[in-house]
Symmetry: C2
Subunit: 163 residues, 2 copies
Amino acid sequence: MNNQSLDSVVYQFIEDAGNATKSLGMGRVLGQIFAYLYFSQDPISLADMQDTLGISKGSASMGVRQLEKWGAVKKVWVKGDRKDYYIANDWFGRILKNAVMDTLSEKMESYASSLGSAEKSLDDLADGNGREKFIRDRLKHLGDFHDRVRGLVKNPLVKALFK
Amino acid sequence: MNNQSLDSVVYQFIEDAGNATKSLGMGRVLGQIFAYLYFSQDPISLADMQDTLGISKGSASMGVRQLEKWGAVKKVWVKGDRKDYYIANDWFGRILKNAVMDTLSEKMESYASSLGSAEKSLDDLADGNGREKFIRDRLKHLGDFHDRVRGLVKNPLVKALFK
DNA sequence: TACTTCGTTCAGTACAAACTGAACATAACA
DNA sequence: TGTTATGTTCAGTTTGTACTGAACGAAGTA
């Protein structure tokens, strides 16, 4: 086996990972960068990423920062080189958790806010007619579900699954 | 309280729901349609959706079909009318589960396929040098995590949370 | 059978998100 | 201090996708 055929396996995987993150709505470069680092033994610089992945300076910089935020990659020091180097973290449970939290928790807040203001509006105009009661009931039911999903995060059983 | 102010509460919610589904990558109309049905006491036709939400015929048709696929809405019969009418289901746990499964399970298959073909390629060219071993190890670790996520779905504890 | 009403399809469009790259900021070095 | 090497930012461009609407099909009606 030679390094070239090993490379082709890795390149294929980089492409697949890019498609995966893209189809998950996270953009293609995130998957590409992470896969590249994940299969590299040595730390990788931003310039390496640009060259190997054929992406722009801006994409490499912003992509790697996003991954760092989620704990997916880590900056490392390479003696005698001014460049920033990165390696991949392989604690997937933690990475997934961070990414999901980061993208979902602010949305949950926003949903709570919508529910709250709807309830408040209803209270202001309450007269208890049929339609108002119906809407109030449905709002209540939706709020209960929202709370349940919210509570799910704190559930120790679920927490354990991300360890 | 009059119906107009009730309407404005509902309209606001429809807008919020549309933004929510949109930001989750499911398109705005899905949220709009579901919210409209969810707060309507009577069954709603496709024409109603077009009028109330200001969306096209095509969007109403395709949106409602998607929601039906996930069990979020149900077609109902209205005597003496040829139109199709729909009402919202309120079993959110089931709806969420169906939606997540529908959008994720095929992706999981695709990831498994990528992992599989990478492993196979490695086996074909195995010579046990350092880099190949490194890549093989990382691939193994990734595969283990994939299996763990896959198993998560069948976990009775998780299942219970979607009841 | 011709006409009307309704739902579906899909090529085209409009819009939003991802990516680019040049200008800028920062820090090391001579 | 000027020069070089590097990272960041963001206005502009590209790309992808959700939505539109006209054409079509199906099924009821007169």
